[in-house]
Symmetry: C2
Subunit: 347 residues, 2 copies
């Protein structure tokens, strides 16, 4: 059995953590939760004996930044696949599966911008999944939920088919609040965290069955593309023809041998400033502060700057983020409204 | 009788409106309330037929800025007295009185950083005062109070001695809240706005009587100083010996023939961001916004920037001011705490 090949997806354009995250430097390239960037943390999380060098699939405009960040932690990708445009996760993973070193290599597909605090639990979940993966199953990791989140998809966990491995009863799209609460209460649902483990050939076989045109477009984009060293540049003309679809929609919800490994591993997708505040170390006043910030009589605030100096007094429950020529100010709980601000600024 | 000589005091160092106001460019040099700076508004307020060219007393470090701002509105000071250091208002006014063109010239002493919305009322108050001034009285203008402010001194208004002109019963230092409320309720108190009208010789005579050493030091600072064109540069060594005292303490509270002209003229000393918010035009959501600011679902906020772009959503009753490399954030009603922040930043 070949080593596990980490597949790191760096496709996010990062609007939700504006103004630090920007198209030219999205969330995964930022050191939001540690000294390392989220991309570096992701690569480090799947490095070591049982892992081969990673395949990274990224936006071509970030090539230099990705190579520098990986080099800085001594990670050498076996391939850096540079997407000419974003086509969602299914085509991105197809690119990785087609450049994998062996057809039967297990691919550990990971978004590049998630936090996993308990790496040991993650590794144990991988170990549980591996026998089924070798047997050709498509495995997703189901995050044990601790709140009725409406921003994630859910997975209904079915019967156990091997130790720690369950059939997927069904995938549930981002639910309304009441449904989320019911699923949380049921105890048999998990969040769909977008982390997968399967053999390259098993994924490609499923894609051939359910999305043959996508597979064909991706295959052709590689045939007509260029390769220089580890850099793989698919043809834009061919890749543009791949349908813009998620792996969930294109494959996981349709395929037969789909399993879920439920795991509690301190997972967080850091999908908003509120989410970052929730996982940040706070001082005794409840403030999570980074950069040049003076805060007096201030409680339960997130304040970060890589630009101007922030001076605040008498403030509670506020999110304040300064970066470059911008500063964002909103109350805790409102960080989903960053999108509204960005839309307003376009006008 | 000579024309009235406006004496514009530009001594404030401007910490209360940080970060826009800074030692190198204090409040009076900023366009806070209009297109013109507060210095320009002050000069314009006392220009016209009955006024001579002004005498400006300022910190020497602001020489160029003051000359530029006055030139921009066509105001030509007859003298620009450049203080080598700040010694409070009594020595500053003594400098002006000593460089006045005639001993009996009426001096209209005005801080350079106050707002007066109703200039006609101001002019009428000056007209009321003028006969008594010609007769040698020292006149202060008493601002009709509309709130129990604890940040101003008060004047107890005594008997009327000429139309619109009253004896000063007594001066009251910045009072505690209860005393301020009692004075507001009494109806016979006015705020001490720091605006005066008196003959140069009347003021100098009083100074000779109550603060002879101050007068002597100021006189010597001019004798030992330099004059080039309109620029007057007192000797620092001599001027440093002048006691650091306000005109109220040095003269007004002690002299006999002191009168007050009560006047309601939309006066505001713009002594804090809250004060500025109170006098600023607000949009229908109650927001007073200047500069590049995007505010969604935001009410009753003051937001100003001459630096970074401010994006805010879901915020109420907040003061946000960005200037240079700094941004200030505090709730309305807390703007006196700017001083605390500045102290904290020194550490």
């Amino acid at each position: 059995m070949p080593s596990i090949v980490p597949v790191i997806l760096s496709g996010g354009s990062g609007t939700r953590l504006w103004p630090m995250s920007r198209p030219e430097r999205p969330k995964q390239m930022l050191a939001l939760t540690a000294e390392e960037t989220m991309l570096q943390l992701t690569a480090s999380r799947a490095a070591g004996e049982q892992f081969a060098a990673p395949i990274v699939v990224a936006n071509a405009r970030h090539t230099d930044m990705i190579e520098e960040q990986l080099a800085a932690i001594g990670a050498k990708p076996q391939a850096l696949v540079l997407e000419p445009m974003g086509r969602n996760t299914a085509p991105a993973i197809a690119l990785a599966a087609l450049v994998a070193p062996q057809p039967d290599a297990p691919l550990l597909v990971m978004p590049s911008d998630h936090v996993i605090e308990d790496v040991a639990a993650f590794r144990a979940a991988i170990a549980s999944a591996l026998p089924m993966v070798e047997d050709g199953w498509l495995v997703t990791f189901g995050i044990t939920p601790d709140a009725p989140e409406t921003g994630y998809g859910y997975i209904k966990v079915g019967e156990e088919i091997a130790e720690g491995v369950h059939r997927v009863d069904r995938f549930v799209e981002k639910p309304p609040r009441a449904a989320a609460e019911a699923m949380l209460a049921s105890g048999d649902h998990a969040w769909n965290g977008g982390i997968f483990l399967f053999r390259a050939d098993a994924f490609l076989d499923a894609l051939a069955q359910y999305e043959p045109k996508m597979l064909e477009a991706v295959r052709r984009s590689l045939a007509e593309g260029e390769r220089a060293g580890t850099q793989v540049r698919p043809s834009a003309r061919a890749f543009a023809e791949a349908p813009n679809e998620s792996i969930d929609y294109a494959v996981m919800e349709k395929a037969d041998r789909v399993a879920v490994v439920p795991v509690a591993m301190g997972w967080n997708d850091v999908g908003s400033w509120d989410a970052l505040h929730a996982i940040s170390a706070a001082d005794e006043a409840g403030n999570a502060i980074r950069g040049e910030v003076i805060a007096l009589d201030t409680t339960n605030c997130l304040a970060r700057t890589d630009g101007v100096r922030i001076a605040m007094v008498g403030v509670q429950d506020l999110i304040v983020v300064a970066s470059g020529n911008d500063i964002l100010i909103l109350p805790r709980g409102r960080s989903q409204d960053v999108k509204k601000l960005l839309e307003a600024m376009k006008d």
